[in-house]
């Protein structure tokens, strides 16, 4: 059963029964039957609620037939979809490959690669859509994620699939590979959907560059909290050259202290961040604004509630599954009874009873099936809760980007003020301390140069901090908006689903009640 995203309707999807998408609320019984799908334990697809789960090899996008806007990308947010560069992304065809180096240990040095095809909206001059196919391994995805994290600080970046610390044998097991394939597909979708990241070079290169994935792994593996601006985005530099066109001096200054580098600087930064935590020394940069702090509070509160709601939703789904199973087993027990009583019938009442058993059993089995289907759909709806709970981690990262940018800025500010202090002292000091006037002037010159460089670095850090703050804000706004939309759609979808199936089940039992009405005392 295919479903179509309603481009402008409030609901994410409409079950198609050939009636081309009537209001599902008017025709609840469209939920009937025609889609039976087995609920799979892998993470549900990111599609609209009534879609069939994709087969292993197929992509997540549906082969929709007609659609109002010609978009075949399933999404509850048609507006953002119109902006996305990518129409379709598919991850498929996992293949075992070996590293080029010969390894002594059998099995080591092999990895799994996936075929990733994508279709872009931007067409070339001929007007046709462009399609790309590349082969990537999981390590490439990690690299992509890391590079995006570096370039898009302050953004709420979709979390990438987990690395799994498992043996290589497990790595090659089909179930694991399938789970990973599905997770990768979801991840790439989410990236493509992001209004800013979807247009990034990193994603484009990942999806389109043939051969090996060309982006080098980031050198910066240091803890993000202590990071300064590692590699400032090229937007900052007037030279605007990709790769290594950076102005060296401010860069050097702005590089965070790392092992082997300026240990003293590292201690200073540490002291600064500790001072921040304890609300001690007041740097000359305006402290976090109240609005942001309030918002952060709200986000933390939201995270808490999402966690609980997500858990309870899981428990609810399980309880519904249990009732479905028990109803089915009850049906089976009555079927057996009916069969038993039909063997060698002795009297009429036995025959009647056998028939009654069978009617009840059939109804129970049908009801059990309806419960199961309804529950499987409910699970897909309620999965949004899990999804947004998972996104909270990305929000925390966005916040910590901001915090570390602030630390960098504050470090530089405090550096600057102590440099200026030294400058004053040096200017006021007599040449006698330095042995000669020339020495003093030279030192003064050097100091002035350092101050200029530090000033530049401070400006850069300041702009970076402001930029990240802005990213934080717009991302939180975007998150709020999308979350609201998604949750409203989730609620509606969930309710419509539950109502439809409840009516179906009511119908099943009403029929049995009618059939057994003759047994009632007439007091009904």
């Amino acid at each position: 059963m295919e479903t179509l995203p309603l481009a402008d309707g409030p609901l994410a999807a409409v079950p198609v029964d050939g009636s081309g998408g009537g209001d599902p609320l008017l025709h609840p019984l469209q939920f009937d039957s025609s889609f039976s799908f087995s609920f799979s334990s892998s993470s549900p697809t990111r599609t609209s609620s009534f879609a069939e789960p994709p087969s292993n090899a197929k992509g997540v996008s549906l082969q929709a037939t007609e659609s109002p806007k010609g978009s075949i990308y399933p999404s509850p947010r048609p507006n953002s979809r119109e902006d996305s560069d990518y129409l379709k992304i598919t991850v498929s065809d996992p293949q075992k490959e070996s590293e080029s180096t010969v390894s002594l240990v059998p099995g080591a040095g092999t990895f799994v690669s996936y075929l990733i095809t994508s279709r872009t909206r931007a067409s070339d001059l001929s007007g046709s859509l462009q399609e790309f196919s590349v082969r990537r391994r999981f390590r490439d995805v990690v690299t992509l994620a890391d590079r995006i994290a570096e370039s898009y600080r302050g953004f709420v970046i979709p979390p990438r699939p987990d690395k799994s610390v498992v043996e290589s044998q497990v790595m090659q097991k089909q179930e694991f590979v399938e789970q990973r394939r599905s997770a990768l597909e979801k991840y790439l979708y989410k990236l493509a959907e992001h209004p800013v990241i979807g247009k990034s070079d990193e994603l484009r290169v990942f999806l389109q560059a043939a051969g090996k994935f060309p982006l080098p792994a980031t050198t910066d593996m240091a803890s993000r909290v202590l990071d300064g601006a590692v590699r400032l985005p090229k937007q900052f530099f007037s030279s605007g050259e990709a790769g290594s066109g950076y102005v060296a001096a401010p860069q050097d200054v702005v590089q965070p202290a790392k092992g082997g580098r300026d240990l003293l600087r590292m201690f200073k930064e540490l002291k600064q961040s500790v001072a921040n935590d304890w609300g001690g020394a007041k740097p000359s940069v305006v402290e976090e604004d109240k609005t942001f702090l309030e918002r952060k509070e709200r986000v933390l509160e939201l995270e808490q509630q999402l966690s609980t709601a997500s858990q309870q939703a899981e428990a609810l789904v399980k309880a519904q599954q249990d009732i479905s199973e028990t109803m089915g087993e009850l049906g089976l027990a009555f079927l057996k009874l009916g069969k038993f009583e039909s063997e060698e019938v002795v009297c009429d009442s036995q025959r009647i009873r056998a028939a009654d058993y069978k009617h009840l059993a059939t109804a129970a089995v049908r009801a059990s099936r309806a419960y199961r289907e309804s529950n499987s759909l409910a699970m897909k709806h309620l999965d949004k809760l899990h999804e947004y709970y998972g996104l909270m981690l990305a929000v925390h990262h966005a916040f910590s980007d901001r915090a570390s940018a602030l630390v960098t800025l504050q470090t530089l500010l405090s550096d600057l003020s102590s440099l200026r202090l030294r400058e004053e002292k040096l200017e006021a000091a007599s040449s006698k301390i330095f042995g000669s006037e020339r020495t003093r002037s030279r030192k003064l010159e050097e100091l002035k140069e350092t101050i200029i460089v530090t000033e530049d670095a401070k400006s850069i850090a300041f702009r970076e901090y402001e930029r990240i703050k802005e990213n934080n804000k717009s991302e939180l706004d975007r998150l709020d908006k999308e979350r609201h939309e998604d949750f409203i759609a989730m609620i509606k979808g969930y309710i419509v689903n539950q109502a439809g199936y409840a009516e179906k089940i009511a119908g099943i039992w009403t029929q049995v009640a009618g059939e057994t009405n003759r047994y009632a005392n007439g007091t009904d």
Partner: protein, 330 residues
């Protein structure tokens, strides 16, 4: 409060069961369980009220206080007196009688047992029926539990969703709040239905199981009666041979033997009669049992289906009522 009023009248089917005059009727209710006594000796007493027009009863209405052991006494007296009749079982049958019954009926204890193919079939039927019914009852009980569990989950979910709504605010907050409230409301309905299932579906199934067990008791009685009849018949045969021998020999013991023989013959005839009564009663009871069970189960199924239909219907209504509030036209 547990109060069941049952009214029984004479077996004429055309009469309404509630006619106070004409047909004899007996209406009994058991109410007001009260805990009496202290500690280990505590027990529960019940108020037993009977209304009847039967002349054997003193007066039309009588109220007595009885405890469980009194019910057991009654059951034992009836079982002694009315062999062949399926005495309705008391709740909470003990497991001991079970195994004893099986062994005797299946002829494990004694080598003698009646072996008509029909009775064999019947025995087989009764034993298998019990197994099937026990399984059905087990699932029914599980279903009750599942309803309760689902009710609990819905309630927890509702609360969590309401809290989430408080966080979100605006239209989404309102939507979550409605979702949460409805979930909590449905939780209550589920608990109610769980109770309904327990009383009107699982309990009748349990009754059915117990009824089958009481049939097995009757089968024990029948087996015992058969054994007695058979053994006496054997004894008589030997005695008769012996008597003939003594008579031929003109022994002085012949007279004695004759008297003995006559007594034994009377006993044997008595035993045979008892056995045959049980067989006859049992056959009658069986057809009554089958009919009764079909009616009782039919009612239980009806109640089950009704309850489930109403539950699902209410759930559907509750959800649908939310849709306009979410701005969805329905």
């Amino acid at each position: 409060m547990i109060s069941t009023q049952r009214t029984f009248s004479g077996s004429s089917p055309s009469q309404s069961p509630r006619s106070p005059s004409g047909q004899p009727f007996l209406s009994v209710s058991v109410t007001d369980p009260v805990k009496l006594g202290n500690g280990v000796q505590a027990y529960i007493s019940y108020r037993v009220m009977s209304k009847t027009n039967m002349p054997e009863y003193q007066g039309q209405e009588k109220i007595v206080i009885r405890r469980y052991s009194d019910f057991v006494w009654l059951r034992d007296r009836l079982a002694d007196k009315f062999k062949g009749i399926f005495i309705p079982p008391l709740p909470e049958k003990s497991a001991d009688v079970q195994s004893k019954v099986s062994d005797v009926v299946l002829g494990k204890e004694k080598p003698v047992e009646e072996s008509s193919p029909e009775y064999e079939k019947l025995k087989h039927y009764i034993f298998e029926l019990e197994d099937h019914l026990a399984e059905a009852q087990k699932q029914a009980f599980r279903l009750v539990k599942r309803h309760r569990e689902l009710g609990q989950s819905l309630s927890d979910f509702g609360k969590a969703i309401k809290l989430l709504g408080a966080c979100e605010g605006e239209s989404l907050g309102k939507a979550f709040s409605e979702l949460g409230s409805k979930s909590e409301m449905m939780s209550i309905k589920l608990q109610k239905e769980a109770h309904n299932l327990l009383m009107n579906f699982e309990e009748p199934l349990k009754d059915y199981v117990r009824a089958v067990q009481s049939i097995k008791v009757t089968m024990t009685d029948r087996a015992n009666a058969f054994r007695q009849h058979y053994e006496l018949a054997e004894t008589i045969r030997l005695k008769e041979i012996n008597l003939d021998k003594l008579t031929l020999m003109r022994s002085d013991r012949a007279g004695e033997a004759e008297i003995e023989f006559r007594e034994l013959k009377a006993e044997s005839e008595e035993a045979t009669r008892r056995y045959e009564t049980i067989v006859k009663l049992m056959n009658e009871e069986l057809s009554r049992f089958q009919e009764q069970k079909t009616a009782e189960l039919g009612l239980a199924f009806h109640e089950f289906a009704k309850g489930q239909a109403k539950l699902s219907h209410d759930i559907a209504d509750a959800w649908r009522s939310l849709l306009p509030k979410l701005g969805v036209s329905s």
